[in-house]
């Protein structure tokens, strides 16, 4: 039989027992909907996590330190041929060289120091961190009160909410007010270089103050980049932080190591790649330059594995409803064989081959699967939207930002439709073969 005639006859048969076939199709639709809803949540959560993580720069950032950085302070250097040469310092030259590497977006230092802040003439201890301008897009500043820094050199500060609460009972009122940052500036030893004895080194630490205007309050603790700013409560622009030349933890180490130089060195630099896929080669290049380099790429791989397993589990749970629907299809078609036994006999007497009868039942199962798939994808999408809506209502009540919890990408739509049709065809396999094998003489005799 031609495909058009086959489809025509199948649709006619489906229309004849419309209630039963509609209920069977609905069963498939519910199965597909549960599958789509589950997977759309999985996909949505994965996209949400990936977006947040890629915004945070965790997976496209390489954390660079000098080779000696992780050896214990004061511990003797191993005496190897290589170690006779002092390790390459992470200075401005190195930073510029790193910037010139292919696929690098930016290179910025990690500047963080413990210091004192005066507000309303009261001292407060806190950790200050310099934030690169790119951190504005990291997601950490989404929904903040006030604004992000007006420029990289602005004398402005963003407070973390807990610190803001320490400063005032009404944190929101702090925006626009000034505070004094007291810090220790590292200054080169004036004797260094002029006196040979100064080679043992040292530098001066001079107390300084800087007036900062509070321009914003951020709810969450920003965590930009590996070894980021998680614990910092007072955030200032990175360039401002750099020009302060505030003494940091590694300065003490430099003293211990006898580094007298006034030359600016960094304890670490963050190198951001254009995409996580370029991190691996970039990391190797940086290591070749004589630095230590670390990235969280492996963690990203683990995350992808986690979501694959997560999706699989959601898919299995979603498929349970579809498995029940499969039994519904088998039941419907087996019932149809009993009811249409005589009709099958007539078709065979008129010249229908076994394959024609088999195909007829297959097409009927396939049509139910396809229609069930279409309805199921629609229901599943609506279910996902409803869950997202409900979640966002809850998040709004908690004063949190809305999120896109479910996502139905085009591949999921196609996958669900193909899956629904294949499952239905699989379910139609037994009834169709049973119908095809029906003895026409017995079938014609059937009342």
């Amino acid at each position: 039989m031609k495909a058009r005639d086959l489809t025509d006859l199948a649709l006619r048969n489906l229309r004849e027992a419309i209630l039963r076939n509609a209920l069977t199709t609905l069963g498939i639709a519910v199965g597909v909907a549960s599958l789509v809803a589950m997977l759309s949540l999985g996909v949505g959560l994965q996209q949400l996590a990936s977006k947040r993580l890629s915004q945070s720069g965790l997976f496209d950032t390489i954390f660079v330190t000098p080779k000696n950085n992780f050896r214990g302070m004061g511990r003797p250097q191993p005496r190897t041929a290589q170690s006779d040469k002092p390790p390459r310092p992470l200075d401005e030259d190195a930073r510029k060289q790193l910037e010139k590497l292919p696929n690098v977006i930016e290179v910025y230092p990690q500047i963080r120091f413990f210091t004192e802040v005066r507000f309303n003439n009261k001292p407060y201890s806190t950790v200050v961190a310099g934030m690169p301008e790119s951190s504005q897009n990291s997601g950490a500043f989404d929904g903040m009160q006030g604004n992000f820094f007006s420029s990289g050199y602005a004398d402005e500060a963003i407070l973390q909410i807990e610190f803001a609460k320490d400063l005032s009972d009404k944190p929101a009122s702090l925006v626009g007010q000034d505070l004094i940052l007291r810090y220790a500036e590292r200054q080169g030893n004036p004797l260094a270089g002029s006196d040979a004895s100064a080679a043992v080194g040292g530098f001066s630490v001079v107390p300084k103050e800087l007036k900062l205007k509070i321009i914003g309050i951020v709810e969450t603790e920003p965590a930009a980049g590996y070894g980021g700013y998680g614990n910092a409560r007072l955030l200032i622009p990175l360039q401002t932080a750099t020009t302060l030349r505030a003494a940091q933890v590694n300065d003490l180490r430099d003293i211990v190591r006898g580094d007298s130089s006034d030359k600016l060195t960094y304890s670490s630099l963050s190198v951001r790649a254009k995409s996580p896929s370029q991190v691996e080669t970039l990391e190797a290049s940086i290591k070749n330059m004589g630095f230590n380099a670390f990235s969280l790429l492996d963690a990203s791989k683990s995350l992808r594995t986690f979501f694959s397993v997560f999706d699989l589990l959601l898919g299995i749970f979603g498929s349970l409803a579809l498995a029940v629907a499969t039994l519904g299809i088998i039941n419907t078609l087996v019932m149809a064989i009993l009811e249409r036994r005589r009709e099958i006999g007539v078709l065979k007497a008129l010249g229908a081959a076994d394959a024609d009868v088999q195909q007829l039942f297959f097409v009927e199962a396939g049509v139910m699967g396809f229609l069930g798939g279409i309805f199921g994808v629609t229901f599943g999408w609506l279910l996902g939207r409803a869950i997202t809506f409900g979640t966002n209502v809850y998040l709004k009540r908690q004063s949190l930002n809305p999120i896109e919890l479910s996502s139905v990408p085009w591949w999921l739509v196609i996958l669900a439709l193909v899956f629904a049709v294949l499952v239905s065809l699989g379910a139609g396999l037994y009834p169709a073969s049973r119908a095809a094998k029906l003895n026409p003489v017995d079938a014609l005799r059937y009342e």
Partner: protein, 238 residues
């Protein structure tokens, strides 16, 4: 008038069924030759094996032993697919209970064999109309079988059997569900069709008087065996 060449030749045909331990000989060593264009009536009491023999000739069943050559093809040697093709193109069947599909209109019922034979769409409407004209039912083309009388339903069944222009028409008790006047009208119709199209007709019936009036030859069966064949009195008179 019957051709001299046989349209169907049965050669020592048997059909045995196994029912538990016992074997039922529904058709037992029957040999019969039916000429092209002949109208043969198969007579016999209930359970005599005449319907089984008709099913064997229709290719709906396979013989346990012997051979059936119909329109040059040995049915026992055909594959299931070839047998389906034979049923589609060479034979037309009508039944006692009409076996029209109740959900379809007359037009759709008559079109069904054309769909199975994959006849072009453009050709179908003409062929359906032609078949329905032959049974004088074109005015009921859009009706469903349930809206027709028994005689009309059997006429539709005849139109459906004729639409693929078969060489052999096999009728299983075609008047069994009809009153005598309608039955006679149906047999008149069959006789007309036979004379117009020159096809071979094999009709199973237990109504001897009707068979004697319309058939060319009578074959009587009993207990699965062919008891006798004789020319119908009408044919003798002719």
């Amino acid at each position: 008038m019957a051709d001299t060449l046989p349209s169907i030749r049965l050669d020592h045909i048997s059909r045995h069924y196994h029912m538990g331990e016992t074997s039922v000989r529904a058709v037992d060593d029957v040999s019969l030759s039916i000429a092209g264009g002949e109208f043969l009536a198969l007579l016999g009491s209930s359970g005599s094996g005449k319907s089984t023999l008709l099913n064997l000739m229709a290719g709906l069943d396979r013989p346990t032993a012997g051979s059936i050559v119909a329109d040059g093809a040995n049915l026992a040697a055909l594959s299931p697919l070839e047998l389906a093709r034979y049923r589609r193109n060479t034979v037309g069947m009508i039944f006692q209970s009409f076996n029209l599909l109740p959900r379809m209109t007359l037009e759709e019922n008559v079109e069904l064999p054309l769909r199975l034979a994959e006849v072009e769409h453009s050709e179908r409407a003409g062929r359906v109309r032609e078949a329905l004209e032959r049974v004088r039912l074109t005015h009921r083309i859009g009706h469903r079988p349930s809206e027709l009388s028994g005689g009309e339903q059997q006429r539709v069944a005849i139109a459906r059997a004729l639409v693929n222009r078969p060489k052999i028409l096999l009728a299983d008790e075609p008047t069994g569900n009809l009153d005598s006047a309608t039955g006679e009208a149906i047999l008149n119709l069959l006789r007309n069709v036979q004379s117009q199209l020159g096809m071979t007709i094999v009709m199973v019936t237990h109504e001897r008087p009707l068979a004697e009036r319309f058939a060319d030859r009578l074959a009587t069966m009993g207990d699965g065996k062919l008891l006798a064949t004789s020319p119908a009195p009408k044919a003798v008179a002719q």
